[in-house]
Symmetry: C2
Subunit: 431 residues, 2 copies
């Protein structure tokens, strides 16, 4: 291959796109040294040609017509950082069908159409890399695909959303209420004006689907993830967690037992001395358990212009190296294990419950009877005075099937002496 | 390439070698799925044919003649886990010259002869991978080589020796004396009978040379690393560190400023809320700063049979994939930046000093005069009663050139009112 220059079509010039431009321009010399080729941004697809940009680009590079990139035979690689499903999906598919390699940061797309796009790419000898879609600058996908290839991954626990981790850190360390912490995150640019996708756990769920697929070799998609967000987390819960030696994090969990998988995102109590408990502010981290390697953790910035762009450009370097070697598309390993999701009987966990009950004799006895009937045993139980004639009861169970725990919840709610179940959290412990 | 089976010659059947046998046998199905080839251990070089082994292997696989592996044209890959410089160096070189690919866990070898071996391998189209030489099961070398290829790494801080981290954790968390913690580490198998290479920092220095070479693209070797071990660390120092909000870790630091490099291993005080401070017991972690990516950390088991074997087998999988693709040896990037080490004037740091002085008027004044004369300013200074007529003085400086700090130390030692300089630590802070 006598080619000396790789032409890139960049789709999107927002935060990540600007970072990609900056990195490619700033590191041209290193890129040439590492790949033997110059990397040139040949065209940039934007919605608004007139909009002022934080990075300076030649005006003639900008276009609002996707065909200027897709139909240009000189463009070898499409970098897609528009986000969202459509039209990104259409562009990526068309790029692959035209024989172009694709690097994308698009978690929405990958967590739903990943398998389809990867199989299309492999079939046409095109690369499709997406490191930036999970964990920003943390090279976790590469670690799963390459470094742990000889191991059997059995569990991944991730703090994979910076916005919610920022909010929970402020609540936990500064005693802020949820609304106050959210407002501060918005002010600092860590949360969007409409924070739904972050605070409801949807963004984290997309990332967990991508991690699960790669780690377990199963085609896990967004809809397979059981999701609960952080909007119900209270300062009181934070205080109880601390008193019990726990920290509340929005934790994605993907777990494999006997070829059965469980994948979820929910606010979870983890022991305060666990390395994940020390991951604060907008940082992300992914804890990976492998049968052979044991416990490893990958920590870093989960978002941001340059960190995310670093992952994009690292993928781009891999594409360029593959081009030079003539091996594009060949490292794609399709999910080869059948997807078998655990049922609620098969999912097991510990939970923390906090409830408000009437302060009458026999309340605890009736509660413990319900628990016993469903074979749920207790790790601890506290009863505290709450108000006149009312007490607060905090319970941490031992590990039990989710179905049994849900049944217990239902019966407790129906008990007339119980006024309210204030909160319920998954508890991950015993490391 | 119609080959369906890759034959591996394994050199060494100690801890790591046994793990490699176990992993290859246990994951044969996954290996075939990922690489399309079966991986077979065809011969194993051992010193003693009769020694009982923790893993069961066919007796006919064992040999004590290296030529049985090196001269066998059917063997495609040599996995070298003997350790030490000779004869490992000779074997690896001969394997490469015979066109065999090499996977090694040998940090001693790589930290001295790395550049020579890599250039030999690249020249012959052979792979030479060594992920297991640093950080056991942590895929840090791959991250540096691939994931941060578009970034400029400016600093790496690593806890890269499990033995010393275990000892320091016991001293810090359980108030043990150094000797007691060392004895416990030896009892638990975390330290060898002769612990010199670990406790004197030599093992960590080798790993830092390998990290520095890969991260900064300079040919850094063991001799370039300034080393100090942990044998002088005391419980008193641990207590002072804690009171000041620090934790003492044996930290490898490799730092690049304006193309000048500093590389060292020494017991260092880091802020207790730094993620590295939470890396306990025998775990390892490497903190990487990139200009674009910011701060990332890679955490995991730094040693052990299966974690280290995971890294070896992941390298082996890469070799097999490269064979299939016909691209062996092509991913080796030779160090392309000239090596320029900082002088003591150019190395800058903060230090912690603890000294015993006569309890006389004017002692502090004389000390501070010396500091001022060398332009070293203080972040804090404490004077505490120590014994009759004697006081203890604890000082933390601001950042200053190492040369100035050394000069200050020399003059303080010469002061007749100062009885003894008890301890000196580097301080890394201000994150």
């Amino acid at each position: 291959m006598e080619k000396k220059r790789v032409k890139v079509g960049l789709m999107g010039l927002g935060t990540v796109g600007s970072g990609v431009v900056r990195l490619i321009e700033g590191h041209q010399e290193d890129l040439v040294k590492q790949t033997g080729m110059a990397v040139e941004i040949a065209k940039i697809l934007v919605r608004d040609l007139e909009k002022p940009r934080s990075v300076s680009v030649l005006p003639e590079l900008l276009t609002n017509r996707p065909e200027d990139l897709l139909d240009d035979p000189e463009i070898d690689v499409i970098v897609e950082v528009i986000g969202g499903i459509e039209p990104a999906r259409q562009y990526v598919l068309e790029a692959i069908r035209k024989g172009k390699h694709v690097v994308t940061a698009n978690k929405d797309l990958l967590s739903i159409h990943g398998a389809e796009l990867l199989s299309e790419a492999a079939g046409r000898g095109c690369d499709l890399y997406y490191e930036a879609s999970v964990g920003g600058g943390i090279p976790i996908l590469r670690a799963l695909a390459d470094s742990f290839s000889s191991d059997r991954i059995t569990k991944m626990m991730g703090i994979v959303n910076g916005t919610t981790n920022y909010i929970l850190t402020k609540m936990s360390q500064h005693g802020m209420a949820y609304e106050q912490a959210l407002a501060e995150a918005q002010e600092k640019g860590f949360a969007e004006a409409d924070p739904t996708a972050d605070v409801e756990g949807l963004d984290a769920a997309r990332k967990m689907a991508i991690l699960g697929t790669l780690g377990f070799h199963m085609n896990l998609v967004f809809d397979d993830v059981r999701v609960r967000g952080i909007t119900q987390v209270t300062r009181e819960d934070m205080n109880y967690a601390r008193q019990l030696g726990y920290t509340i994090k929005l934790l994605g969990i993907a777990q494999l037992d006997d070829d059965l998988v469980e994948i979820s995102v929910e606010p979870t109590m983890i022991p305060s001395n666990h390395p994940l408990a020390a991951v604060n502010d907008e940082f992300n981290a992914i804890y990976v358990y492998g049968r052979a390697v044991g416990e490893t953790m990958f920590y870093g910035p989960g978002a941001g212009e340059l960190p995310t762009a670093t992952a994009v450009v690292a993928d781009l370097v891999t594409v360029v190296k593959n081009m030079k070697l003539g091996v594009n598309g060949r490292s794609i390993v399709a999910p080869y294990r059948p997807k078998r999701l655990k049922t609620d009987e098969q999912i097991e966990m510990k939970i923390f419950l906090r409830l408000i009950a009437e302060d009458k004799a026999g309340v605890l006895a009736r509660m413990t009877q319900i628990l016993a009937r469903h074979d749920v045993s207790l790790e601890r139980i506290l009863q505290l005075p709450y108000d006149k004639d009312v007490s607060e009861i905090v319970v941490v169970t031992h590990t039990a099937p989710k179905k049994a725990l849900d049944a217990v919840m239902g019966e407790l709610e129906a008990l007339e002496v119980i006024r309210e179940i204030r909160s319920r959290y998954r508890v991950e412990g015993g490391f």
